[in-house]
C-alpha cells in the first residue's frame, strides 16, 4: 500500500530549516529509500515517495508556519539540483502508476503556486547544479528562479531528445504560459539535452537571475527577505500542527473520524460517507485557532484529501465513488458561516484554500463520481460543493418508507459561488450553467435557504430526483452500467465533460499536457522494447517508428 501520510521526522529525502520569515526546503534524496524495488534514486531524482514528502512539507509550511513568508527550494547535491523523475522507476512502473504519479506531482506543483498566490507564502528556487526535466519543473512552480552562474549549472527539459516522452509535470505549459518564453526559443530549449545556462537562460526568461557562486548565498538570502516583505502572513500567530487523523484500513472499509469508505467489490464501488460536525462551530477566531487541527472543516479536508489519494493509488479497480453525507445541516451552516466571516484570517484562509484544492483533486480524479443526497444528509455550503464536483448527483424526492428521517435538503452558501473555483478559474456552478447563465443567478438567490428535491430539480442543481419507489433500482442501474464500461473511455469522457469553460494553465496541464503525455507513455517509441524510455541508461539507441500520428 502506498501511504500518503508522513511527517518531517520520517522524511528521507527533504530537509526543512527555519530562519525567521525564511524557510529552506532542501532536496537531499536518499538513493536507497525507494517506494518500490528495481531502481535507485541517484542524482536527486525522485519517485512518488519523494513527492509525498514534498507535498507534506508544502502543507506543513502553510499550516504549521504562519511566520514563514518565503520558502527557498534548494538542493544538497552540489552537482545536480534535481534530475527529475527517476527514469528507471518510470521504466519499471505500470502505466497506471506513471499516470497517477504524474497527477500527484502536478497537484503538488499546483499547490506550491497556490501557496504563493493565495497564502502569500512565496517560493524561491535556488538552482545550484543542473535542474533537469522534473528538476526544472519544480523550479518552474516557484515564483522566482535564481541560478548559479558557474559555467556548469543549467536548466533543461531533455525529455524529448533523451527519453522520447514529455516533461510530465507542467514543464512545457509553464515555460510558455507562466514564464512566457517565446515559442521558438522554447522549441529550441526543449530540444537540447544539455539545456541553457548563464546569461542566455535569463535572456530567454527561463530563469530570473544568474549569480556567481561566491555571491549566490547572499543574493538568495536578500531576495528571500525582499519577497518576505511583500507578504501579509502574521508574525505573531501560532501554527497548527498537522497530526495525522486516526485511520483504519481493511479490505472492506477505510475509516476516519469524519469520513468512512466501504467497498462493494462486486460492483467495484467505493461508498464514501462524509460525516457532519458533531458540535456547533466555534464562536470566534480564537476558538478556531484553539481547535487547530480538530477544527471540523480542516479535519474533514485532511481526511478527504487522504482518502482520495489512498483510493487513487491503492484501489485502482474501483470504478465509481459514491459520495454521501450524513449530519446536521444547521451545524454545517454554522461552520460555513465562520469560514466566510473569518476568511481574512490566515488559518481560516488556509482551510478554505485546502478545501478548494481537495475539491480540485476530485475534479481530476479518474473515477466516476456520483453523489447521493438522502434523508439525513448535510449537503450545505462547502460540503455541498461536492455535489457540483461529481459527474452525476441523485437526490431522493421525499423519504424512505422504513425511516423516520425527514426528506433531504440542500443549502447553498456564498462559497459555492465564490471562493472554491475549479482549475478553470470559475465556480463549479458557473461551469455547470455555462449554457444558462441565468441559472447561476437563480441558484444564488437561494443562498441560505433549504431546498427540497423539487426546488433542486427546478434549479438544475442535481441530475435527477427519484422517489423511494424508483430510488434503489435507479441507483443500482447507474452503478452497474458504469462498471460495465471501459475504464479508459470513462476516464477520457469524464475528464472532457468536467472542464467546460475557460482554459487556464492548470486545465492545460491536466487536459492537454497530461493527455498527450499519457498517450506518449503508451507508445512503442517510448515504452516498447526498443523505446527510448526502456533503453535509457543502456547506451543503446532507440528505434523509432517514423510515422507521424
Amino acid at each position: 500500500m502506498i501511504d500518503f501520510q508522513t511527517s518531517p521526522d520520517r522524511y528521507r529525502h527533504w530537509k526543512l530549516a527555519f530562519d525567521g520569515a525564511v524557510a529552506t526546503l532542501t532536496m537531499d534524496v536518499d538513493p536507497t529509500s525507494t517506494l518500490a524495488p528495481g531502481y535507485e534514486l541517484k542524482m536527486n531524482s525522485y519517485d512518488l515517495g519523494v513527492d509525498i514528502e514534498l507535498y507534506d512539507a508544502v502543507q506543513r509550511l502553510r499550516f504549521e508556519h504562519p511566520e514563514v513568508r518565503t520558502v527557498v527550494m534548494a538542493s544538497a547535491n552540489p552537482k545536480i539540483f534535481c534530475a527529475g523523475a527517476n527514469i528507471k522507476m518510470l521504466g519499471v512502473s505500470s502505466h497506471g502508476h506513471k499516470v497517477n504519479f504524474c497527477k500527484f506531482t502536478n497537484e503538488t506543483r499546483n499547490s506550491i503556486e497556490d501557496a504563493s498566490d493565495n497564502s502569500k507564502q512565496k517560493y524561491l528556487c535556488a538552482v545550484t547544479g543542473t535542474a533537469a526535466g522534473g528538476g526544472y519543473e519544480l523550479a518552474l512552480a516557484t515564483d522566482y528562479i535564481m541560478m548559479v552562474d558557474d559555467g556548469n549549472t543549467a536548466v533543461s527539459l531533455p525529455e524529448v531528445p533523451l527519453l522520447a516522452v514529455l516533461p510530465g509535470t507542467g514543464g512545457l505549459t509553464r515555460v510558455v504560459d507562466k514564464r512566457k518564453v517565446r515559442r521558438d526559443l522554447a522549441d529550441i530549449f526543449c530540444s537540447i539535452e544539455e539545456g541553457v545556462k548563464g546569461k542566455r537562460a535569463v535572456e530567454w526568461r527561463l530563469v530570473d537571475e544568474v549569480i556567481p557562486s561566491s555571491a549566490f548565498k547572499d543574493a538568495v538570502r536578500k531576495r528571500a527577505e525582499a519577497m518576505a516583505a511583500t507578504s501579509d502572513r502574521p508574525t505573531n500567530s501560532k501554527g497548527v500542527v498537522l497530526t495525522h487523523p486516526a485511520r483504519t484500513i481493511s479490505d472492506t472499509a477505510v475509516t476516519y473520524p469524519h469520513l468512512e469508505i466501504t467497498f462493494d467489490r462486486d460492483t467495484r464501488t467505493a461508498h464514501i460517507t462524509v460525516k457532519g460536525p458533531s458540535a456547533a462551530a466555534p464562536s470566534d477566531l480564537a476558538a478556531i485557532h484553539a481547535q487547530g487541527v480538530d477544527f471540523y472543516p480542516l479535519a474533514l479536508a485532511r481526511e478527504l484529501d487522504d482518502a482520495i489519494l489512498h483510493l487513487r493509488a491503492n484501489e485502482t479497480t474501483v470504478a465509481s465513488w459514491v459520495i454521501r453525507s450524513q449530519g446536521d445541516m444547521d451545524l454545517v451552516a454554522g461552520y460555513d458561516a465562520v469560514l466566510q466571516k473569518h476568511a481574512g484570517d490566515w488559518l481560516v484562509r488556509e482551510v478554505l484554500l485546502y478545501w478548494k484544492r481537495t475539491c480540485k483533486r476530485l475534479d481530476v480524479t479518474s473515477r466516476t463520481l456520483f453523489a447521493l443526497v438522502e434523508p439525513g444528509s448535510c449537503f450545505g455550503g462547502f460540503i455541498a460543493e461536492i455535489l457540483f464536483a461529481v459527474d452525476r448527483s441523485y437526490m431522493l424526492d421525499g423519504t424512505f418508507e422504513d425511516s423516520d428521517l425527514p426528506a433531504a435538503k440542500i443549502r447553498l452558501s456564498a462559497l459555492n459561488f465564490d471562493g472554491l473555483p475549479m482549475g478553470n478559474g470559475i465556480s463549479r456552478i458557473a461551469t455547470r450553467f455555462l449554457g444558462e447563465p441565468d441559472s447561476v443567478g437563480k441558484a444564488k438567490d437561494t443562498i441560505g435557504k433549504d431546498l427540497d428535491a423539487a426546488a433542486v430539480a427546478e434549479l438544475g442543481l442535481v441530475t435527477a430526483t427519484p422517489d423511494d419507489i424508483d430510488w434503489d433500482d435507479e441507483i443500482r442501474l447507474v452503478i452497474e452500467e458504469r462498471a460495465a464500461f471501459s475504464p479508459d473511455s470513462l476516464t477520457g469522457m469524464e475528464a472532457n465533460l468536467r472542464f467546460a469553460g475557460p482554459e487556464t494553465m492548470e486545465t492545460k496541464i491536466f487536459g492537454r499536457l497530461t493527455a498527450w503525455q499519457n498517450w506518449i507513455f503508451q507508445r512503442p517509441n517510448a515504452v516498447g522494447e526498443n523505446g527510448a524510455l526502456k533503453l535509457y541508461g543502456t547506451g543503446k539507441r532507440a528505434a523509432y517508428n517514423q510515422e507521424r500520428v
Partner: protein, 473 residues
C-alpha cells in the same frame, strides 16, 4: 596536406585559408587566447626565450623542430594527423559505416560536450602550473614546464578548432568560455574537479604530468577512436605531444626519488628532510593523492553517458580496433568492483555501462608500470622501500566508492577513522609546507640543479644537461 603553412596567421594543416568563415572565426578568437595566455600563462616570462619544440608537420617522423622562442610568439596552430583512407566507424551502433566528416545532427550536443570537457582541461593545467617557474629546480626543468604549457595551449587550439569548425555559434561560445573559466575560481571553476586543485610545488607538477596527463592520454586515445573523423585526427596528433608530458612527470619524480635515495645512503638515515630532500613516505602520500583524485576523472564506474557515447560511436575504448570482440558490446558484461556490505564484490554489469571503469583500469595498469620503474631506482640503491598504488576505492569523490571510507590497502573503515588517519595517507599540511619550503628561489644557472632533485641523465634534443634551455632578457 600534412605540411604546415607558417605563412598564415594561424599555422595549420587543414587548409584554413580555403575556409574564410572559419579562418575569420579563429582569427577573432586568437587575440582572446593571447590575452588569456598573458594573464594566466606562466608568470613573468614574457621576455624569456625558451628552447621549445614546435610542430612543423603531422607526419610521425620529424614533426617537430627545436629552437629558442618567446612563448607569446609560439606558433600555436591546428594540426591534424593525416587522414586515413576510407576510415570507418569502428564500434557501436554505427560500426562499419563511413566515419563522419561532419557532425551527425543528433549527436551534436553529446560531441560538443565531449570536446568541451577535453578542451577545458588544457588551459586549466596551464593555470594550475603558472607559478611554478618561480621556483624551478633547473633551466632544464623550467624548459620542460614551459614545453608542457605551450603544448597544453596547442591542445586547447585543437579543441577550439573543432568547436569553431563544426559546432556553429554554440561552438564559438564554448570556445570563449574556455578562456573565461579559471582553475580553482569558485565562480568560474574548470569543469573537472582535479583541474581545480592547486599545483603548488614541483613534486605535485611531476605527479600531475605522470598521473593526470596520463589520464589525458587515455581520454585522447578513447577519443582518437571516434567515428567523428576530425576529432579522431586531432586527438591522434595530440597524443604525439602528450608522451613528452608523461616523460617529464615520470623522470621528474624518478629524479626526486634518486636524490632521496642518494641522501639516505650517504647519511645512512631515513630522515632525509634535514638534508633538504623529499622523503619517500611523502612521495607515497603525493602518489596516493594524485592517483585517487585522477581516478575520479573517469567518472562513475557504471555510467549511462559512457554507454551512450560508445554506442553512438563517439568515444571508444583504449586501442579499440586492437580488441578482439564485436565492438558493439550489446550482449557482453564486464566485472566491476562494487562496495557491498562493508566490503567489495565484483559484479557483472552490461559492458557498455562499464566503459569508464575499463578505461580507468587501462590507465591504472599503465600508472603501475611507471611506479615499478620508480621502485627499481629505490632497489638499485638497496633501500627497502616500495611505492605502491592505493586501492581504487581509496579517497574517491566520484562514483560508487565516494560514500565509503577506505584505507590505501582497501580495507573499509569508518569515516571517523579515515579523518583521524588521513595524514598517514595523504599529504598533510606539514608535508605540503615542507615541500613548499624547498621551493625557494629559481635555479637559473645552466647545469645547476636544486638540492632535492638529481640531474637528468641527458638533455633535451641531444643537447647537454647544462645547455641554456631558457635565456632571460
Amino acid at each position: 596536406m600534412s605540411s604546415i603553412n607558417y605563412a598564415e596567421k594561424i599555422p595549420n594543416n587543414v587548409n584554413l585559408s580555403e575556409d574564410r568563415k572559419l579562418q575569420r572565426a579563429l582569427e577573432s578568437w586568437q587575440p582572446h587566447y593571447i590575452d588569456w595566455w598573458k594573464e594566466m600563462g606562466p608568470e613573468g616570462t614574457s621576455t624569456s626565450e625558451i628552447y621549445l619544440r614546435t610542430a612543423i608537420s603531422a607526419e610521425p617522423d620529424g614533426w617537430a623542430q627545436f629552437g629558442h622562442v618567446k612563448m607569446e610568439d609560439y606558433r600555436w596552430g591546428i594540426f591534424l594527423a593525416p587522414p586515413e583512407q576510407d576510415r570507418k566507424v569502428n564500434f557501436g551502433a554505427h560500426k562499419g559505416q563511413d566515419a563522419w566528416q561532419e557532425v551527425p545532427g543528433e549527436y551534436r550536443s553529446m560531441l560538443r560536450r565531449l570536446i568541451t570537457v577535453q578542451g577545458d582541461t588544457e588551459p586549466a593545467s596551464v593555470e594550475q602550473q603558472r607559478l611554478l617557474g618561480q621556483c624551478c629546480p633547473s633551466l632544464y626543468d623550467l624548459r620542460n614546464l614551459f614545453q608542457v604549457n605551450v603544448e597544453e595551449g596547442r591542445h586547447l587550439w585543437a579543441m577550439v578548432y573543432l568547436l569553431h569548425a563544426y559546432f556553429g555559434k554554440d561552438g564559438r561560445e564554448e570556445a570563449e568560455e574556455m578562456l573565461a573559466r579559471r582553475s580553482g575560481d569558485p565562480d568560474k571553476p574548470r569543469i573537472l574537479g582535479a583541474f581545480n586543485e592547486k599545483t603548488a610545488d614541483w613534486l605535485a607538477f611531476f605527479m600531475f604530468t605522470f598521473i593526470t596527463d596520463r589520464d589525458g592520454k587515455y581520454q585522447l586515445c578513447a577519443l582518437a577512436e571516434s567515428g567523428f573523423d576530425p576529432l579522431s585526427r586531432s586527438c591522434r596528433f595530440m597524443l604525439t605531444e602528450e608522451a613528452h608530458h608523461m616523460f617529464v612527470g615520470e623522470s621528474g619524480v624518478g629524479r626526486i626519488i634518486e636524490r632521496a635515495c642518494q641522501v639516505m645512503k650517504e647519511n645512512r638515515t631515513d630522515d632525509v628532510r634535514k638534508f633538504g630532500v623529499i622523503d619517500l613516505p611523502t612521495i607515497q602520500r603525493y602518489l596516493n593523492f594524485h592517483y585517487s583524485v585522477t581516478s575520479d576523472l573517469y567518472g562513475a564506474e557504471v555510467s549511462t553517458n559512457a554507454a551512450t557515447s560508445y554506442n553512438m560511436g563517439l568515444k571508444g575504448r583504449y586501442e579499440e580496433t586492437k580488441i578482439g570482440d564485436d565492438h558493439q558490446l550489446e550482449q557482453t558484461t564486464y566485472s566491476v568492483l562494487h562496495p557491498v556490505n562493508g566490503g567489495f564484490q565484483a559484479i557483472e554489469v552490461p559492458a557498455l555501462n562499464a566503459l569508464n571503469e575499463r578505461l580507468r583500469l587501462d590507465w591504472a595498469e599503465d600508472v603501475a608500470k611507471g611506479v615499478e620503474r620508480w621502485n627499481k631506482i629505490i632497489a638499485k640503491h638497496g633501500i627497502d622501500f616500495k611505492l605502491t598504488l592505493p586501492h581504487l576505492a581509496f579517497n574517491r569523490a566520484i562514483g560508487h566508492f565516494s560514500d565509503i571510507a577506505v584505507d590505501p590497502q582497501g580495507k573499509v573503515i569508518s569515516t571517523e577513522e579515515f579523518a583521524r588517519r588521513r595524514d598517514e595517507w595523504l599529504p598533510s599540511q606539514s608535508d605540503l609546507a615542507y615541500v613548499q619550503s624547498l621551493m625557494g628561489g629559481a635555479v637559473h644557472k645552466p647545469g645547476q640543479f636544486a638540492n632535492w632533485i638529481a640531474p637528468p641523465p641527458r638533455g633535451i634534443n641531444n643537447q647537454s644537461v647544462d645547455f641554456d634551455y631558457v635565456r632571460f632578457a
